[in-house]
């Protein structure tokens, strides 16, 4: 039972983690909370759906429309994620860059991203309605069982296949991103930009280009995540990603702002805490998760893996 609950926690947490990865990327470079990330995440799921040549429902402008061709799931996922990444770049170009150029308060940027999120969600609804969609069952791994039992038949520890995929992809993204940011020259430049864009430009770093890259990566990761979560729980409507906004924020703050492993650790931890809430308290689950977050922050104000807030006077 405990093993199963831990496995559940891992499964829930991996969804939080994969959502948070792209979220935290932008925060760590630009110091802004990008609420539009949830919307891009949603878009990723819809892009993949569209690219697979599947048909839309009865509401919205695109009712009953579909592409004349259909890509296999994994190809559609990659192409969809690239489009999501480009969409991120587009948002950067029209909103975030001008805001940076005007020296806007980070909170204002946050609010702008909120506006974008509202607009995107409602554009999705305008185009394809609020209906639920899903990828054909078995799209990802044809023939694979719906779940895998890691325990015995008497003491089962079951994880659903869709969630195993999410865990695997989350870990893969984590490894690639960590390597990229910590070990490559571009990664070092990214960290420099996140510290101080003006000074970075004095070192010959084209800050705009790097920020564009960040938005692309974040959008790409978000698009992958959206599709995989869509695979797991269906595309439950235009609010698919937005509904992760609060948990996602909790995850990146708990893990430590700007820390990429922190997003994964934070996600898994919140997932496990939620899973371990005793049955009798299940109706207080969200409150407990946030209470724990509150307490962790009081003990470790910078989050679990966050760098301490140094202040040299």
């Amino acid at each position: 039972m405990l093993a199963q609950q831990l496995a559940n926690g891992l499964a829930i947490g991996s969804v939080y983690a994969i959502f948070a990865l792209g979220y935290t990327l932008i925060f760590s470079i630009l110091g802004i909370i990008n609420f539009a990330h949830g919307a891009i995440f949603t878009l990723g799921a819809y892009f993949t759906y569209t690219l697979m040549g599947l048909q839309f429902g009865f509401n919205g402008l695109l009712a009953q429309q579909k592409l004349p061709f259909g890509l296999p799931f994994w190809v559609a996922l990659l192409v969809g994620a690239v489009i999501a990444g480009l969409f991120g770049v587009f948002l950067e170009r029209i909103i975030f860059r001008p805001l940076r150029a005007r020296g806007a308060d980070p909170l204002l940027t946050l609010v702008a991203s909120l506006g974008l999120a509202v607009a995107i969600v409602n554009i999705i609804q305008y185009l394809v309605g609020a209906e639920t969609y899903s990828y054909p069952s078995g799209a990802a791994l044809p023939g694979a069982p719906a779940s895998v039992n890691f325990g015995t038949t008497e003491a089962p520890v079951i994880i659903r296949t869709a969630q195993l995929i999410i865990i695997a992809v989350a870990v893969l993204i984590l490894i690639v991103l960590t390597f990229f940011i910590n070990r490559t020259k571009t990664g070092r430049a990214l960290r420099a930009v996140s510290e101080d864009a003006t000074t970075s430009s004095l070192l010959g770093i084209n800050t705009n280009q790097l920020i564009r890259l960040t938005f692309f990566l974040s959008g790409f990761v978000g698009g992958v995540a959206g599709t995989l979560v869509g695979l797991n729980v269906g595309i439950t409507g235009p609010y698919l990603g937005i509904s992760f906004g609060l948990k996602g924020l909790a995850v990146i703050v708990l893990g430590g702002l700007g820390s990429i492993p922190g997003a994964v650790v934070g996600g898994l931890l919140i997932g496990i805490v939620e899973a371990l809430v005793p049955a009798s308290l299940v109706s207080y689950r969200d409150a407990l998760a946030f209470a724990i977050l509150f307490i962790v922050l009081l003990v470790r104000p910078q989050g679990l893996l966050g760098r301490p807030l140094i202040q040299k006077v």
């Binding site: 101080d196 004095l202 010959g204 040299k312």
Partner: protein
């Protein structure tokens, strides 16, 4: 003196909102020279350097570097063209290590082996930085940060170095070290535009100098002559 000019600032005017910080400033720096810019607080020295490295947009005037107009380039393109700027207030990247800061100084270069060699050279120059190699730059003492800022600029192997008060906050021993570095660099062919409060020391180490007052150039000439100039003595040499 007939050497070709590396930097030609002509008629530079800069405004901060309603405040005019520079008015019609014209400065020439020839290849291989050290040129010093002196002036009181708020005279516009830092503003001049910031305009050259394109941290701000001048209202009017031209800035030519090696014969090419750089007034439309981005800041990072200016660095690629061979200009390094040690800004006022150090501006080290606080949450990166000392080593990362230095490596980023060489961001525009691709000759990896030479970069390693230069890194070692900086550590040799500033042993304190070697000791602090893995420390986050933001926790360095003020003077240590200043050393880092200078070393970082050198990592790009600039042809023109803009130094904004490099001796600020440094112990006397290190100040002397900095000026010996300036001489070394200059001998190895780097051109330097220097802003410095320690005017005597700066002028002693330069070929020529400019005096900036309230955003305008009021005096210019060979460094020796400026040191002797009564007005300069009274106003800036104390």
């Amino acid at each position: 003196m007939s050497a070709q000019s590396v930097l030609e600032i002509r008629g530079l005017t800069v405004n901060y909102g309603a405040i005019q910080a520079l008015k019609d400033v014209t400065i020439t720096v020839h290849a291989g020279e050290v040129v010093t810019l002196i002036g009181a607080n708020g005279a516009g020295k830092s503003t001049t350097l910031r305009a050259v490295s394109r941290l701000l947009n001048p209202r009017s005037g031209s800035i030519q570097y090696q014969g090419k107009d750089i007034a439309r380039l981005r800041a990072d393109e200016v660095v690629r063209a061979g200009i390094a700027h040690v800004p006022e207030g150090r501006r080290v990247l606080a949450r990166l290590t000392v080593e990362d800061n230095l490596r980023l100084g060489a961001f525009v270069r691709t000759d990896n082996e030479a970069i390693e060699a230069d890194l070692q050279a900086q550590f040799k120059r500033f042993p304190r930085l070697l000791e602090r190699r893995k420390q986050l730059a933001g926790t360095l003492s003020g003077g240590e940060q200043q050393m880092l800022a200078i070393a970082r600029a050198l990592m790009s192997r600039p042809q023109l170095l803009l130094l904004d008060e490099p001796s600020l906050g440094l112990a006397p021993i290190i100040v002397r070290e900095i000026f010996s570095i300036i001489r070394d660099l200059n001998q190895s062919g780097v051109t330097i535009l220097l802003v410095e409060q320690n005017a005597t020391l700066a002028l002693k180490n330069s070929a020529r100098g400019y005096v900036l007052e309230a955003g305008q150039i009021t005096l210019e000439g060979p460094a020796g002559a400026l040191i002797e100039d009564e007005r300069v003595r009274r106003a800036y040499l104390g």
